[in-house]
Each structure stands twice: as structure tokens, then as C-alpha cells.
């Protein structure tokens, strides 16, 4: 019996990582964002799990463009930080937990999720920026092993929000049936509203974002019922990344305690959101 103790949702904008790597977090344009992270980071520093699962998408760095998995699971002992073209971020490589990966694979396959397995994988900013949001100064190593779950959010048709939420619920059951660790943290990444290309580039919909930040805690099934088209219209062509928050949320209990939320525009071309949930009963 392993227990998910927390869920963390956060945007994964590359420039957030760059601001940290270049020590610009106190600059006026960045300070409000990092101020907003502070309460979550403090709480998380006191609640390090035995292992974490991070739901993210690759941005044409770890996976070739000729193959696009809908849902993929890493089963490696470690994951290298990708060189996205201009050197890798100065952060540690990621230690995995193959035993738990194999358990999740078996459970999720038995529940009818058609996972792609990565026995090797380089992880890009979609993965490392959320780790940095969680742990700004990892030193030699991240606080615990982390297992990647990759979701296709770039190529249409993405998995539906409902399918993502269902994957999260199955993930919660799979974790609950595992005896190898005690405590688990889950990260759902991406979003909030943003669009990078086309005449609507720079689109931000803060009322949708605030609705989402509130309902992801209270009524995730409502968000799971939105169509791809609704996500793209309301949150922008890249805002559909928010479906990854639903994988995280599905793995938590129906009732969660919100530890902290933050919202900031802009981080680069994006609205950046954060939501931290305590999943422990009582």
C-alpha cells in the first residue's frame, strides 16, 4: 500500500527554467512569479515523498518526430537531461524507479491503457522545469526518484481530457496496490492558457485559467468533460496541455486540501499557474 501524499500542477515554460539557471529570479519581471511559488516550495520541502511521478510532454527533444505516443511510461533506471540544442540545463539527471515503473505498466495495461514503454529517454524542459519549480536548488540530485509519464499534447488528436482523467484514476489504483514505497508525489505539468503561433499568438484567457484552477480541486470531472476543441478555443492551441493536470488530479482522492495556488502573467508567452494539493486524509 503506497499513498499519494500530494499533487502538484505547474506550468513548464522554458523561460522559467532559464530565469532560474541565470539567477534572474529576483529581477522585477520574474520576482512576482517566484514569490508566488514560495509557499508551495516551502510546504513541499517538508513533504518529500519516497518517489514522484511526473506527467509531461516532450517538445521535439527526447522523441523523434516520426513516432508520437499518446501515453508513454519510462521504465529506465535514470533519465538524462536533454540537450535541446544549446547545451543541457545545469540540473541533475533524473533517477528512476524501474520496479515501480514495471508495476504501473502491468496495472495500467491490465486496465486497458495502451502505453508505450520507454526503456531509455532523455527528458527536456517539460520535465526539468517542473522539477525546478518544486525544488529550486537540487544540488547533486533531485529529492527522490521520479518516473516520467509522457502525454501527446502537440499533435492533434490528443487524448481526450476524459481519457487523461481516467488514466489518472487508474494510476491512483495502481499506486495504492504497490508495496514497494510508502509515499508518492504526483506532478501534472503544462498550461495554463497560451498560444505560440498564428494571429492569435499571445492569447491569454485568465477567466478560463481561474475557473480551471478552482475546478481542478473541486470538480475535475467537469474539466474532464471538455472537448479538445473547447480546450484549444478557451486556452489556446498550447493551452490544451492542461489535460495533463487531469492525469495528476485523477490519481488523487475525490476530496483534496488545497495547500496553495498561484497565477501569473506572463512567463514568456504564457500564463503560468501552480496548484498544490495535500492528498492525505483528514
Amino acid at each position: 500500500m503506497s499513498e499519494v501524499i500530494w499533487g502538484l500542477a505547474t506550468s513548464h515554460v522554458p523561460s522559467i527554467g532559464a530565469a532560474m539557471d541565470r539567477e534572474k529570479t529576483a529581477d522585477p519581471v520574474w520576482a512576482p512569479l517566484f514569490e508566488g511559488y514560495r509557499p508551495a516550495r516551502e510546504w513541499l520541502a517538508g513533504h518529500t515523498p519516497d518517489v514522484a511521478i511526473l506527467v509531461y510532454n516532450d517538445h521535439a527533444n527526447g522523441v523523434d518526430l516520426d513516432v508520437v505516443p499518446t501515453f508513454a511510461l519510462g521504465t529506465a533506471e535514470s533519465y538524462r537531461v536533454a540537450d535541446e540544442g544549446f547545451g543541457r540545463r545545469p540540473v541533475p539527471d533524473v533517477t528512476g524507479d524501474p520496479e515501480l515503473s514495471f508495476h504501473l505498466l502491468q496495472s495500467l495495461m491490465d486496465e486497458g491503457f495502451d502505453l508505450t514503454v520507454f526503456q531509455e529517454l532523455d527528458v527536456d524542459h517539460g520535465f526539468t522545469v517542473p522539477l525546478s519549480v518544486w525544488t529550486p536548488d537540487p544540488g547533486e540530485a533531485w529529492p527522490c526518484p521520479v518516473i516520467p509519464i509522457m502525454v501527446n499534447v502537440i499533435r492533434y488528436p490528443q487524448p481526450t481530457a476524459a481519457r487523461c482523467y481516467a488514466l489518472g484514476q487508474a494510476l491512483g489504483r495502481a499506486i495504492a496496490s504497490y508495496d514497494g514505497v510508502r509515499t508518492v508525489g504526483i506532478l501534472g505539468t503544462g498550461g495554463m492558457s497560451h498560444q505560440l503561433a498564428g494571429a492569435r499568438a499571445g492569447f491569454i484567457n485568465s477567466s478560463f485559467d481561474h475557473m480551471f484552477l478552482e475546478q481542478i480541486a473541486r470538480d475535475p470531472a467537469k474539466l474532464a468533460a471538455l472537448t479538445r476543441e473547447q480546450y484549444i478555443r478557451e486556452a489556446g492551441s498550447e493551452g490544451i496541455e492542461l489535460i495533463m493536470w487531469l492525469v495528476m488530479r485523477g490519481a488523487l482522492n475525490a476530496q483534496v486540501r488545497t495547500v496553495h495556488t498561484a497565477y501569473h502573467v506572463p512567463a514568456s508567452n504564457t500564463a503560468a499557474g501552480l496548484a498544490l494539493f495535500d492528498n492525505r486524509p483528514g
Binding site: A60, F203, I232, P266
Partner: protein, 119 residues
Amino acid sequence: MSSQIRPDLPGTYVFDGPTSRRGHAMNRMFMSLRAEQARAEFRGDEAAYCHRFALTGDQTGAVLEREWQAMLDLGGSIFYMYKLALMDGHSMQYLGGVFTGMSEAEFQAAMLAGGRTDV
């Protein structure tokens, strides 16, 4: 003919199957630019490099002229195109400006003011 219900939203590119197919060679070329050696070869002779990746004439022209909007229209994915932009020293804000008819500074100012909320 098919039941494709791909959203058709003004000013919004949805990178679907047909788009991915159309832009495949060009996106593959962008992807290759992650390696310094490839960037050096590209810089040495951009047209020849595009030819090696079997880009169409239109795509090669858009790449050589840095017509970012045309690259989108010819099947480019912003995540792949960004690798070329980075190589040129451009930011995503610069590209945002190009797509929206603003200067980089204007686009940045619009973002700092809370983003483009009315589009």
C-alpha cells in the same frame, strides 16, 4: 469525406495529421538543428541543407527568407521552427511579434500587460 472534426479556429494552427504530413521533411530538418555539427552545415549552405532533407521549393524559400508565417502555412510546427529561431538568436516573443504584426517590443509589452485577451 472523413469524419475529421479538427477544430477550425481563426488565427490558430492545429498540428493535425495532414499538417504533420505536409511539414514532415521541413520539421525533420528543424529537428536536426539540435546538433552543433548540423547547425554548422546548415549555416554553410542553407539551400543545400534543405535540399538534403527534401524540402519542397516553397518550404526551402520560406526557410531561406525566414518567412515564419509561411513556414507555419507549409506544415511547420512551432516547436520545430523554434529550433531555427533559437539558432538565429530569436526568442518566442520575436516570433509572436511576427505572427501578430508587431515588433518584438510591442509583443512583449502586450504580454506584460496581461496577454492578448481579446483574440
